[in-house]
């Protein structure tokens, strides 16, 4: 199943946020979206996921979702968006309660999602009892439970410390390894973008336009090796050179606001 951004423009009041953004996320592909602060990355993701109606253009799905997918487009949120009154298990089960799955099938799905994210021993814990990294694992487990075709990840690691970020990035690499699931990965962290994405869409400063699409010419498995580090760093610098001037302008704009 492909996800298509078709000439998406968006305005908040008189403020143009996105301007005719178009690209396609092919089945199983991971596309990162980077750009200076305020360029509309998260807005674009909300539009792609159907949480926001664009002013112009549209988000489209092409092809059938996988047979067992309960929610083909599934978000992983920056702030985890966990229900604080529910245990880890109940949070993971939350999107399944209103599906056609019977109780046994639902429990099996939840158990599998908890196992894949290393949360089996924490099923009875409440979000407030967990670290930031563990909370995001719950968010990921909840997303996996509905067997998405495409994950929509809005800066999923930005609220975490660097060590936890590294560990979760390894988890993402593992989860995306078989190519069964694609992803749109919004981030301001260029290292995350080159480590995880097959292609990186670089947006310009507001109103966000597609400035360049950079392909990462190696598999995710190859990127873990020491040999790849130099190449990834070069790509990261290439992306930064595309963004740097506009990032400075965007920062000054925020300061002057």
């Amino acid at each position: 199943m492909d996800l298509i951004a078709d000439h998406i423009s968006h305005r908040f009041g008189g403020l143009d946020v996105l301007d005719r953004v178009s690209f396609t996320v092919a089945s199983g592909e991971v596309v990162a979206i980077v750009g200076p602060s305020g360029c509309g990355k998260s807005t674009l993701l909300s539009i792609l996921g159907g949480l926001l109606r664009p002013s112009e253009g549209r988000a489209e799905l092409r092809g059938a979702p996988p047979d067992n997918s309960l929610n083909p487009l599934t978000f992983v949120f920056q702030d985890f968006a966990l229900l604080p009154w529910c245990t880890v298990e109940a949070n993971v089960a939350f999107p399944l309660v209103h599906t056609a799955l019977d109780a046994a099938a639902r429990q099996a799905v939840v158990d599998d999602a908890l196992r894949r994210t290393g949360l089996s021993d924490f099923r009875g814990a409440y979000p407030k009892q967990l670290s930031g990294g563990m909370r995001q694992r719950v968010g990921i487990a909840r997303a996996l439970a509905v067997r998405p075709a495409i994950l929509l990840m809005d800066e999923p690691l930005s609220a975490l410390d660097s060590q936890t970020r590294e560990l979760l990035m390894e988890d993402f690499v593992r989860l995306l390894a078989d190519g069964a699931m694609g992803a749109v990965y919004v981030t301001h962290n260029l290292e995350e973008a080159v480590r995880l994405a097959d292609r990186v869409v670089v947006l310009s400063r507001r109103p966000g336009r597609v400035r360049e699409v950079v392909s990462i010419p190696m598999t995710r498995a190859e990127r873990g090796g020491i040999d790849a580090r130099g190449k990834l760093l070069t790509l990261q610098n290439q992306l930064w050179s595309l963004i740097r001037e506009e990032a400075i302008d965007a920062e000054r704009e925020v300061q002057n606001a």
């Binding site: 702030d79 968006a81 009154w85 529910c86 999107p95 309660v97 407030k128």
Partner: protein, 282 residues
């Protein structure tokens, strides 16, 4: 031979003092205060002391018992009321009024509060009406309600229900507004139906505010039942307190006040238990 930097890192504070002649002193602690504890013993001790002092003043004849009877006299009055059965007659009359009025006002307030929290139209209309009517002291409406509903229980219950309704509606829609939008968006992103979002996300998210509202409305109900019973009732704690005052039976008057206080405490405890059970996740 170790480097200069290594030697500096190894140097102990006491050696510092020896080398430059100055004396090492501990950094002064400046982080005290602004963290009041939750000690309960001090409160009970203070209450016991106040009662003891009051009793002493009564027993020693420092105060006229007609104006301020001693705690022992009040306890005797409560005992006599209990033995005679009058206490239960008055308390049960008040409890029925408070219970009915609070329940009606709360149910209406929760429904209207949710409507205001979830619907643009209801918000526009509801907030206008609530803003206009909330400031009215509800007891002022009792004579009108007597005209409309007669002189039985209905106007008293309606007065309590009105008082409870407005505070409940406000606390409910404030609670709904306070539910983090990201949780609602999350539920929508999983295609969770509207009614399920209300039941599974908005209701539990608004519950802390709703229960805080219950605490306020319980006090409002108690205030209104006493006022309403003072205006027009034969039985009830308010009526009993008024009668005792008219007859200068201050021990009975204060017995009524103590019963009201105990009733308020019991309701507060019940809400504490409810909060502990329903909001254990906080």
């Amino acid at each position: 031979m170790p480097s200069v930097r290594f030697k500096m890192l190894e140097r102990a504070p006491s050696q510092d003092a020896q080398q430059d002649g100055s004396v090492a002193r501990p950094v002064a602690f400046r982080g005290a205060g602004f963290m009041p504890g939750g000690g309960r013993a001090s409160g009970w001790i203070a209450l016991a002391l106040a009662i003891a002092l009051w009793q002493l003043a009564g027993s020693a004849g420092w105060v006229n018992p007609l104006f301020l009877p001693a705690p022992s006299a009040i306890a005797v009055a409560i005992y006599k009321l209990a033995v005679s059965g009058a206490l239960w007659q008055h308390v049960s009359a008040s409890v029925v009024r408070i219970g009915s009025g609070w329940l009606i006002g709360t149910m209406a307030g929760v429904i209207v509060g949710f409507a205001i929290g979830l619907s643009t139209l209801a918000r526009g209309v509801g907030i206008t009406f609530i803003s206009a009517l909330f400031p009215i002291p509800k007891i002022a409406l009792l004579p009108l309600l007597i005209l409309w509903l007669g002189i039985g229980e209905e106007p008293k219950i309606a007065t309590i229900a009105l008082g409870v309704f407005f505070s409940t509606a406000i606390s409910v829609y404030s609670g709904v507004d306070a539910v983090p939008r990201n949780l609602i968006r999350m539920a929508q992103s999983f295609n969770v139906p509207f009614h399920a979002i209300v039941i599974r996300v908005i209701w539990p998210g608004a519950l802390p505010s709703i229960l805080a509202g219950f605490r306020i409305t319980a006090s409002v109900a108690l205030l209104l039942v006493v006022s309403a019973e003072m205006i027009g009732a034969q039985f009830g704690i308010g009526a009993f307190v008024l009668q005792a005052g008219n007859l200068m039976q201050t021990d009975q008057l204060l017995a009524g006040v103590v019963i009201l206080s105990l009733f308020g405490l019991a309701v507060g405890k019940a809400i504490n238990v409810l909060e502990a059970r329903l909001l254990h996740w906080r």
